[in-house]
Each structure stands twice: as structure tokens, then as C-alpha cells.
Amino acid sequence: MILASALEGLQILLAWPNILYPVAGTLLAMVFSFLPGIGGVTLMALAVPWTFSWDPLPTVLLFGALVGGGTFMGSVTSILFNIPGTAPNAATMLDGYPLAQQGEARTAIACSATASALGSTVGIILLVAFIPVIRRVLLLFGPLEFLLLAIWGLATIALVSRRAVLKGLIAAGLGLMVGFVGMDPRTAELRYALGSEYLVDGVSVIPVFLGLFGLAEMMELYVSRRERISSQSDVDAAAGSTRAGVLAVLKNPGLFARSSVLGTMIGMVPGIGGTVASFVAYGQAAHGAKDGKFGEGDIRGVLAPEAANDAKDGGSLLPVLAFGIPGSEGTVLLLAALTLHGIVPGPELLQDQLTLVFVLIWSLFFSNWLTSVLGLATAGHFSRLTLVPAQIIVPIITLLVVLAALAYRGSMGDLLLAVGFGVLGYAMKVHGWPRVSFVIALVLAALFETNLHLTLRLHELDRLSLLDRPISLALFALLAATMVWPVINRALQRRRGVSS
């Protein structure tokens, strides 16, 4: 039944004029997500009223493409200018921008495009595989599992800041404290808000990313008097290689598979989102690398977050389609569009309208591949932007950062926050403090604290039996391995050094 519906869904997608909707949706999503601070979500919000009078089928085709088309292009601005197109693309900046500085922008963009296309394919395959057992899978995740996931993400901080472990741990502590700003999730008490109404809802990650990376990088570019972003002046040398970017994914099948599966699983869990998925994937990539220089331009630092970020799209559709529970802003708007057209998510949808579900899945798949193919084709042109003289690019990118901060919520507070974090990011960069530790901790702070409280409460009520929770046991094992492996690895390396 699933196969027949899948084939029927594919036929509907490819039929004329149906195919125009995902093509138009993908192109629009690509343009919107290339504009920092605007992103595909804004486009989806604009598209909801457009589609009021449409039939359900074109709406499903369009929204599938809008969900899929916006994910990849955000990584292009991350790689070229250190400005995340969307929050989940922030992890790509950590190694993508150093690669662009080394004249490897095209390689990084090509790697990102390939990882995105293949990652989304893994996500979609897992989505289809999990449809029959989704209820049981989702019930396996509770507060303890989320807490362990957050701790696992935090445990990777020491690994991603291996050149300055002490500073990395301090930066992580400060990142967590910034994440605690605002209302306490349990008592609703206001913390560290400095009497400001703006901070009641906490610190939003978008202005922090814009400041800490985008503004700080422009400050450094200005102060250091470098002539351009890329260290290469020759057009051909600065372009890097599309082939090398594609091969980087194919040469690291293990890392790609781990990141994609991780992204899909995190995507399936409502409320965690792509930002956590990409940062956790980045952390596990840094953990698994023996020789890499993560944070200084390691191509695997682009591969892992991009594969996870795109794979998460497939995973995040599961709770929406099966239960009507959205896990991100994008899926909230998708849900709104579906329900406005009488498509009510739930078990009935998966049974009675499986073909329509597959139309959505195929549209997502199609748009992910279309953006990646276009990304590969245009990688060379985009990478030339890193050769524009710094004296021209600095004010223009600064204006783009200001625009992104203002357009995010129309608040002057976001701009001031971005400027504040820009100064902090510049100081951290100049004095050798790892910014990645700070942002990983900031992203994971809410997940950590909320689930810490819930887990402690369940423990108090004696409703937490570890032996009944296989996912928890697996996460405990993973956590232990993450902690112990570097020690064993170092001992092994010393032994090899002595024997040689």
C-alpha cells in the first residue's frame, strides 16, 4: 500500500502543471533564505494567505517545496560572510567561513549542497520507514532522554575547543548563563533581565549569531586591514573546487550517515529544532575526528551540520503528519496551511490520504535536490564574492547584518543585542576564546534546564525507571564513550609514539 501510494504521489508531482508549484516554491525559498534574517519561514508566512483560495493539492506541493528549499541557501551566506541565513545554518559558519578565508569557498558550498541533498534523502527514507511505527518511537523520548541529549551536546564542547580547553569551558558556562536569561521555565521568576522588558522572553539566538560571528568578523576584517575575505587574490585559486566538495561527502560516508540519522531523529522530536540538530552533529563530528582542525576550516565541519540540518526536515514532518504536533516555526506554518485546506493531520491522514502525504514528501525531496543542484551550479559564482575588496564588502555586510537584526522582529533591541555580541565576539576572536563553545551552550541551555527540572520532578515522584528506557541507556553509553574516548585515544597515541 505504501509503495503504491508513493508511486501515485510521484506521478502527481511530475504531472503538468503540478511540477510548476514545487519549482516556483523552491526558487522563491532559495532567494528568501539567501537574504539574512528573512529566511524561508517569512516566505511561508506570506504564502499562507496567498493559498487561501487554492485547492489542497497545489498548496501541499508549494509548502513541501518551501520547507525543503530554504534549508540549503542559508549555508551560502554562512560560508561566504559568516552570517547565518537561518539559525540552523550557524553551525556551518564555524568551519565554512574559515574555508572561504582560505580560498575554498566553492569547495565548502559544493560540500554543503551535496550533504544537503543526500542528507534530505536519508531523512525522507527514514520518514517513510517510520510512518508505521511512529507512535511507539515518539513515546520512547521523554525528559530524561532530552536531558541526556543536551548533556551529550554540551560534552562535545571540550572537544570542539581543543586548542583552548579552559577558555572553551568558561565560554560554555557563560553561554549557558545567557541561555538562562528571561523567565524561569518552572517558577516564571524573571532572571538576569536587568529590568528590561525586551529580555523577559530570553535572549534570541539570531541577534547573538549575527553579532558574535557576522559583525565580529567584519570588525576583524576592518581592523586587520586584510584586502578581502579570501586569502587568495587569483580568481581561479580562490574559487576552490566543486569536485573536491562533492568528494568530501563521498569520502566520509560514516560521518555523513551518523549526522543524517542524528538530524532525522532530532527532527522527529517536537520542540528541539534544526539548530540543536546541526550543533550536536557538528560536535559529534569534532569528537570523531582524530586529525581534523575543527573551527579552522575542516570540510567535515561543513558536511556534518548540513547533512543533519537537511535530514531533520524529513524527521520533523513525522510528528506533524502523525499527530499534528509541529516542532519548528516552519512546520507550524505548514500545519496552518494544511488545516486551512481541510487536511487534518493524524492517523486518519496517514491511512486515508496517504497519496497526498507522499505528494508532500516528494515535493520536499524534489526541492531539496533542486536547491542543491542549483547550488552546485552556482557555487563558483557565489565564491567570487569573497574576492570583493574588503573596503567595499565591510560596510555592505555590516548593513546586511543590521538589516537582518532589525527585520527579524522589527525591534531596536535585537540590533543593540547584535552590536553587544559583536563587540564580545570580536574580543573573543582577538584573545583566542572559542566562540563555538559559547553558542553550543546557548543553543542547548533551554533544552537542558527544562528537562533537568522535569527529570528531577519525575525522580521525586518515583516515576523514572532507567531500565525501562532503552534510549536513555543508549544515550548514557554514548555519553560515557564521548567522555572516555579522548583519554583512551591520547593513551593509544602516546603508546604508538613510544613504540615508534
Partner: protein, 167 residues
Amino acid sequence: MRARGMLFTAILTGVGVVLLVQTLYLAPGSRLAPLWVILPTLALLILELVLEGTALPDRAFRALHGDTLRGTAERVELRLRLHVSGDRRRPRRSRELRLTLWGALLLALVYTVGFLAAVPLYLAPYLRVEAHVAWSKTLVITMLTAGFFYLVFGVLLNVPFPPALVG
């Protein structure tokens, strides 16, 4: 540069102390996670400050990275970097001051006349005065950039920018 690095660590330590004091004033239910985080962070900040102040980073570096060939190479690279940046301290500081002034101008313009009007008012003087770009090129870049921002974000997307003081 090393003194400035210490000053930065000292500022972070000060922020840590303020956060700890604020945390102690919170209700027990609200301060559980923050207290678990700020206490070790503050301890590490003080350790970092002591290490930087007593010229111990070299020994600490060895402790953290092992006395390997790579560790030695990284120490040499770090020293070289500190030396080079020390030599360039003065021009760096004057560039930072100029950057602060340009940043303040942009913020003031955005606050008073709004973002879209601030784009040409900031970009043209920057390109002409700071970047020494020719007048003709300055005008073309400014008009193209301001036009793009106005048409795409002002007209097409109708982005809700915060209200300006004037206009």
C-alpha cells in the same frame, strides 16, 4: 596585547561575580541550574586569570595539550602570534577607535532616520572618507545598495522596521 587579554578575562570575571550575586537572590527553584553553572564557571575564570597573570600559560598549555611535538609547535605559533600582534598594537587600537566611531554613526542614523534612509547616509561617507573610493564609484555603489534595500525590503517585502525618531 597580553595586558588587554587579561583585562578581557578580568571583565568576564566581573560579569561572573555579578551573575553569581544575582543568582543567590533568586528563589531556590529558579536558581538550581544557574548555580550549577556559574559556580564552576567563576572558579575557572579565576583560574584563567591567575594563569594569565602569573605567566603560567606555557606550563598550563603543556598540561592541557601534552608535551608533544604538535604541542610545542602550537606554543611557538602562539608566541609568534602574540609577538606579531604586540608589534601592531598601536595601528590596531586606532583602527578600533575609528571602527567604533563608524559604528556609533550607523546606530545613531538608524535610530534617528530609520534603516532605509540610513543606508545612503552611512554608505556614501564611509566609501568616500574611509575607503577612499572614487566619487563616481561611491555614488554608483550607494545608489545600487540603497535602491536594492529599499525595493526588496521596503516595497516588496514591506519589512516592519522599528519606527525612527524623525520621519
